[in-house]
Symmetry: C2
Subunit: 475 residues, 2 copies
């Protein structure tokens, strides 16, 4: 079971226990006061217990703007909560923990939003100052490093953007678009010292009209790495420019196509965004720099995660939704128990909750629990009569599967649906919550023979016996 | 100079002289009457003379709806012009020629547009009929085959779409979304007979929110190929869903992000959409089908075109903008004179002209000529004093190149700008029209040493001597 995924990975002064990274993910668990609360503690401690190599805590504001339930790090009143968070995560698992620090511009329910061309030079200088002092505060809190948020719809990303409308030395050419991000990085480095890890998250592709692609992201990465970034974490999309306007609501990024590309759902192939990390990493290496790159974008399996490393698509593997679905994924992979992982179905219910300004949970979690279950149980679920009587009805261009419920000593958590074409291998096709015993296949083709089977799993991830398979043919 | 690109390529009853394809491209040269006119003849004969293997003539309507300057094939009055077009193209070059036939829904300046859920079953049947009779008419006109338009924002593509809103047997599951496209293909096949090539163009990725990706395009391709499509030509995007709304103008596809992805401009890497053809071709081959796939998306060089074939990303190579810039590209490649090709700069002026409902030309063409020049001249341009005195000014985050004009016995057509990093190889970086002697590099990075050179070319594509290189460093 030896794998480069589980070898220690040094990043400046910190050594990650493995190459798995939890990228920053909105939780909406914080209060309006921006102080770390119990829900935040519980959420991140759970990730730490699962043994992920690096936890990047959700974006916290470096400045003092009000913005609903968002963590903050812009003054010393936030230090005790953040310090407690770092300490508890360190106690709970072997991983390292860094906060993502963010500056964003103003936005109103009227639809108006502040854009980078409205900023004076004094306001730009204040952004540099705010990042610098926030990074120092992150160090004082006991975090292992700090990540500068230069991605998605926020201030530094809007400077990097190919649609940055400024006409002075902060806009126009790529070098000018890089000017503020580089000033921020240089200031942070100067203030936190030479030994403190400073990562950067930025977009490998904007995924908006006239936006930039890897052609710009390569040079951006080279400049950031050359200026001392310790890792480069790549995202895609998540912009205001194509966000859906809802009257009376502030515009929210991630609601348009670029939001789809940021968190590719089940309509996307696995590893949909890996080409981005691969191209950017190649540009960094071609420039003679060894800076590690975090690759992300729908990486559900250990096999794909290992391929990322082996095929040099990235040096670290980021997974947000897969870890939300099962925080114990790193530990289960390390222990060779991948079949006990509760697999994310990429249905993006978590994304939709965020878009609707609600607390972010996983649709797979038991509803009454409201969080990922914890169980050391080793007894798998069973079919009460030895078989679930799986049936497939084919009509109206649809294949509908139905089966009888499994039983478990604790609780049936869900069912995996497996599908094969003809006599081929049965592969994981979808997952269904334990409260349901039906599944409709949206992608079955006419004239093709399919076989389906189902398999129950419990709260610990123990999988019961696979049902006998059934055949289905759509006319 | 032997290359698979220039080997004959059979598609059912036709044999292409090479693997290069001109995909259907809006010209806006037609009149409102939809009849082939002299401008249309001239445009396509010019492509034929350049020896492209397959010309796909711009979309022509199978039905009788009015829609501005668009070719039509919906009744017999259009036959004489189309027959003349096929005959003249056959006379002018070795390539084959097929019309792309299209059905589209109604759209108004008010912003209203008809969508597929508004169609009755009788209207759906009429679409099948219209395609069938139009295909028979294409055969009667002397075309070598016919291409069914199932891509972009039009009727059959809207049925295939993952956002198809129909709730009956023509919507919902993938098989239902395929129902009308398959009916059309089957009807066309039955009516044109077994020996007439029928190709299909469809989207490998919709590039809109909730749109489909190669995960659906693979199965779509398998079904279309299984139903007798002779080639599968893949496009991306070009949808109404993200088109920019301009009050008083009918909504036009290609104006949003999905339009960028349809015709990737110079912000995209070369071969930006090849992953689509590669994934779809792999799905077709995995299903045991040999149907050839046309790969497209910013393929500027023979080296990349050959890589498409060698790496099995496609069987045929489609190029629209590169052939608009230089219709003689296939002949020049075949003759080993790639350095005489006038290279498309992917500035998408052609795309912008189309979006503004203007005749589509190439910005590189001599302005007074209004079309690609033809010249057998062999005398290259020269620098009058032996050198153009190339200078690079570096300030305000910009590198500005300026040089003295070259001279030519006929006319200087343009200048290639070459760039190297440090002491690396000088590579083609941009092209500038002959009327200009300056270029600003938008992508130069601070701290990096660059070298630049310029090279003039004339109407025939003869390239004059490269200038001495100059160094440039941005602070």
């Amino acid at each position: 079971m030896s794998s480069p995924l589980f070898e220690p990975f040094p990043i400046r002064s910190m050594v990650l226990p493995n190459r798995l990274v939890l990228p920053a993910m909105v939780t909406r668990l914080s209060g309006e006061d921006g102080i770390v609360n119990d829900d935040i503690q519980t959420r991140y401690v759970r990730f730490a217990k699962g043994e992920v190599g690096l936890i990047v805590v959700e974006a916290m504001a470096v400045h003092t703007a009000k913005s609903g339930p968002l963590l903050r790090i812009g003054s010393d009143e936030f230090v005790p909560g953040l310090r407690e968070l770092a300490r508890r995560c360190h106690d709970a698992g072997p991983g390292k923990i860094v906060p993502q620090i963010i500056h964003f511009l103003k936005i109103s329910r009227s639809g108006w939003r502040q854009t980078v061309d409205m900023l004076s030079h004094a306001e730009i200088d204040a952004i540099v100052d705010a990042y610098g002092t926030a990074a120092v505060r992150a160090r004082a809190c006991g975090f292992d490093g700090v990540e500068l948020h230069m991605a998605h719809a926020y201030t530094l990303s809007s400077f990097l953007s190919r649609v940055n409308p400024r006409r002075d030395e902060y806009g126009g050419t790529l070098e000018n678009r890089l000017r503020l991000p580089l000033r921020v990085l240089e200031r942070v480095r100067r203030m936190v010292g030479d030994d403190f890890p400073v990562g950067v998250r930025f977009l490998g592709e904007e995924c908006i009209r006239n936006g930039y692609t890897v052609l710009d992201a390569g040079p951006i990465a080279v400049r950031l790495a050359g200026a001392g970034a310790d890792y480069l974490s790549l995202s895609a999309g998540g912009k205001f420019e194509d966000a859906r306007a809802i009257p009376g609501e502030p515009l929210y990024p991630y609601t348009g196509y670029s939001g789809d590309r940021c968190m590719p759902g089940n309509q996307y192939p696995d590893g949909a965004n890996l080409y981005i990390a691969e191209a950017v990493r190649a540009a960094v290496r071609a420039a003679g720099l060894a800076t590690p790159v975090v690759a992300v974008g729908k990486i559900p399996t250990r096999e794909l995660a290992e391929r990322v490393i082996a095929h040099e698509k990235g040096d670290l593997v980021g997974m947000a939704r897969a870890l939300l679905a099962d925080p114990d994924l790193p530990r289960k992979w390390r222990e060779g128990r991948e079949d006990m992982v509760v697999r994310c179905v990429y249905g993006n219910v978590c994304k939709a909750l965020d878009e609707n300004f609600r607390r972010v949970t996983c649709t797979l979690w038991p509803k009454t629990l409201g969080r990922a279950p914890e169980s050391d149980d080793t007894v798998p679920p069973a079919w009460p009569t030895g078989t679930p009587d799986l049936r497939a009805d084919c009509k109206n261009g649809r294949v509908l599967l139905r089966w009888k419920a499994a039983t478990d000593n604790e609780a049936v958590y869900g069912y995996q649906v497996l599908r094969a074409e003809g006599e081929g291998i049965l592969r994981h096709h979808a997952s269904v919550r334990g409260s349901s015993t039906r599944y409709e296949d949206p992608r079955a083709l006419g004239g093709q023979v399919y076989r389906y089977a189902v398999r129950p799993y419990d709260l610990a991830g123990n999988h019961g016996p696979m049902s006998p398979s059934v055949r289905a043919v759509l006319e």
